[in-house]
Symmetry: C2
Subunit: 462 residues, 2 copies
């Protein structure tokens, strides 16, 4: 009896544990599903073009695979028509440039390798039945090894990597197939035509349905990166000089960490520039748009981001000094960071809108003036009644600020250069703003660096 | 007569111009060829594994394509045997991890997509002759669109991007082929087997012939990056304090620019870590080696590189101050940079050799001591008879040096953590060095950060 109860208890215990375990499992599953759904929604809403791209791929594939059902196309290509489908799958990329680059690479490499393959096959056939596989083997080995090595050349890697791959693939396909199949010319011809069909389908869908231009993405990325730096600088003054009461230790503000993505954006920018080079002229961009120059601007912004990173590491330490000097210092530092921020914002929007930046020159002049004022202040007034560690703090932060001013000037120069090469419009030519004075447009066209260092200081307008 | 001479002159002039042009062209060609040869030699000698890799690809391809000539294999697979060749071309990558990752992705995706494709085909067949292409079209659209979207998930993108591509490809191939071909099960089966043959050939050649392990590359890269920082710091003291006579304006020294590649190494490291995760245990690495932790060390070294970049921008400006203070300052700064360099070198070699760093702890203690001495020196002695701009210079440089000391400490801590997780060996366990005292090995196992700040200062040995 007792044992029976014990068993029952055990059973109940076991069942309740099982139920608990099952509940735990289902809760975990629920969490996973919710997480997945949230992630999906975030990915889709962050960039709606991702959804559109997915639909475009589905569309292109369906169109090409439907071709397969048509008797006419099937009759002329047979099973090879499947290569058109394959081409769509591997060639369709997110941006027009990437798709075009891959499609051209694939088509050109197939053409050259097909011709070479046919040649190799004819050579091999002449050497008799035993010699044929040996000669073909040697050809395949030499071509594969040399082409694989060619893929290590940086220029080839950047633009023709995929072409090299397809070159080896098609050569093997054509030359080796020749051993079993005498219609090798037909094979090469079919492969090339089906690939052309697939690549054209990709390009048509890619360009006609909500095109994503890598060049535009590059432009936006470079502009956004500068904006991120600007928003750090905009908030910096206030954040650094705020009194301890206002401090909000928990909420690390977004503008203070936004610049961090700029530090590691190099490979992304280079990829986009490589894709952009493939793109035909479109919208505001002509064919040979100076994409390389965007990389120069980007690399200067990255240098500025390194300085900002150094500045950020000093944000946690506050300075306390006598009120008079402190407030003077606060004024100038805040002015410098605000003015830098404004100049950067102007440059960012100039890159985005492709209008020559009109007021960045005056911002930079202000900046230089302020930087000099800051140095004077430090020189004559700062050292009275200030503890030494504070001095180190102040000098470090201010000298980083001065370095940032230099960076901003460099960025401004490179943007002005870009504006010249890429033929940015003048603001007055732009339909939206006809009320710009002559004096301003004169300042626009002159490069920032050539201006004399000490011009009249224009007061900051908000 | 006159005209004739004129014509002759013209002809001679034309011919000589043509000859000049031809000569110029051939010179240009020669230059191009020489440049190409030099580039090839440089690529090959910089990393001989590139040549070996090319030969390996040729070898694997030749082996697999030779299979095609054997009657037996051709009889069982027919033209599909070509897929084995294709698989070798697209799957064979530079490192074992990349090859394994791509091969597994391809095989697994083919298996799943093949099964799904057969299922879709059977469903479509049931819906009659008109319904079949419509239903197939809908299937292809839905699967292609959803899988393409899945490729945007960061985790999928990092490890399964290629698998997703092959998943779409195989599904289309199998389901669409079914419309014209009833042996669809055989098609799916053939595709899977040929891909398995190709992938296995890649893996066997990749692992058996001079394998390139991505994990080892990652380890070497992280170690090399720290070494580059170390060699900057080693040369910094001397470079900064040298008198103007010794200056050598033309020769920008290699150690002063070597660190720059560290600034942008993130994407490279992440790719290698992703490949390394695929690799089986080999040599000193077990299967689940903590590759992620190498990324942490790498990111801390990058932070240090940002500071070094800031330091580098001050190299051009020399300081001039009274001799006594100047030489004291020189002593301490040089000591800090040398000691940091030694600590970094020790850490770099610890990562490379997988032996717990033995003396980095004492270097760090020295560093902290020196940093404090530096602050004291600045506090009490520096400001006499020194021009203000010099003070700014000195304070900035020294405070960056102090920040670098913090970075070095962080790197040391993360390397010690890595040593714990990855089970680095003790130096005394290592056959080469049995003469390590007990005291030292005690220091080895303790983490740097927990040590008291003011320990006995060990003098620097060269």
């Amino acid at each position: 009896m007792e044992m029976g109860t014990g068993n029952n208890d055990n059973n109940i215990g076991y069942m309740s544990r099982s139920l608990m375990w099952l509940k735990g499992l289902s809760d975990k599953m629920k969490d996973k599903v919710i997480e997945f759904v949230n992630m999906t929604i975030k990915l889709a809403t962050d960039d709606i073009r991702r959804v559109i791209h997915s639909i475009k791929v589905g569309l292109a594939l369906t169109i090409v695979s439907l071709f397969y059902y048509f008797q006419a196309l099937y009759n002329s290509f047979g099973v090879s028509a499947m290569w058109a489908v394959m081409t769509v799958v591997v060639v369709f990329e997110f941006s027009v440039g990437a798709t075009l680059g891959k499609g051209l690479n694939r088509a050109l490499a197939t053409f050259v390798a097909g011709a070479l393959g046919v040649g190799a096959h004819h050579l091999a056939v002449k050497s008799g039945n035993t010699g044929e596989p040996i000669l073909l083997g040697i050809f395949v080995f030499l071509l594969a090894a040399s082409t694989t090595f060619a893929r290590f050349f940086p220029k080839v890697k950047a633009r023709y990597d995929y072409g090299m791959l397809i070159f080896i693939l098609t050569f093997c396909l054509v030359s080796v197939s020749g051993f079993r199949n005498d219609d090798i010319l037909e094979l090469a011809h079919k492969r090339l035509s089906t690939i052309l069909i697939g690549a054209s389908a990709c390009l048509i869908v890619s360009i006609c349905v909500c095109p994503v231009w890598a060049g535009e993405d590059l432009q936006n990325l470079v502009s956004l990166n500068i904006e991120k730096l600007a928003s750090f600088l905009e908030g910096f003054g206030e954040e650094y000089f705020k009194t301890s009461e206002e401090e909000n230790p928990k909420g690390e503000k977004a503008f203070l960490t936004g610049y961090k993505s700029v530090l590691n954006s190099k490979s992304n920018e280079e990829t986009l520039a490589n894709f952009a080079k493939w793109e035909p002229g479109h919208g505001r961009f002509m064919y040979r748009h100076p994409w390389k120059h965007y990389l120069i601007v980007a690399s200067l912004s990255r240098e500025c981001a390194y300085r900002i990173d150094a500045l950020n590491s000093h944000l946690s330490s506050r300075i306390q000094m006598n009120e008079e000097v402190g407030s003077k210092l606060e004024d100038i530092c805040t002015k410098i960071s605000l003015e830098s921020s404004k100049a950067m914002q102007e440059l960012a929007s100039a890159i985005k809108t492709m209008i020559i930046p009109s007021s960045s020159t005056s911002h930079i002049t202000n900046l230089k003036e302020s930087a000099e004022n800051l140095q004077c202040l430090l020189k004559y007034e700062l050292w009275k009644d200030v503890e030494f560690l504070q001095v180190i703090q102040v000098v470090t932060v201010t000298s980083i600020l001065i370095e940032i001013v230099v960076c901003v000037e460099k960025i401004a120069n490179s943007v002005h250069e870009l504006a010249g090469i890429a033929k940015f419009k003048n603001k007055k030519d732009h339909p939206k703003s006809n009320n710009v004075s002559k004096e301003k447009s004169k300042a626009e066209s002159s490069k920032v660096g050539i201006l004399p260092d000490h011009e009249v200081v224009v007061t900051v307008k908000d």
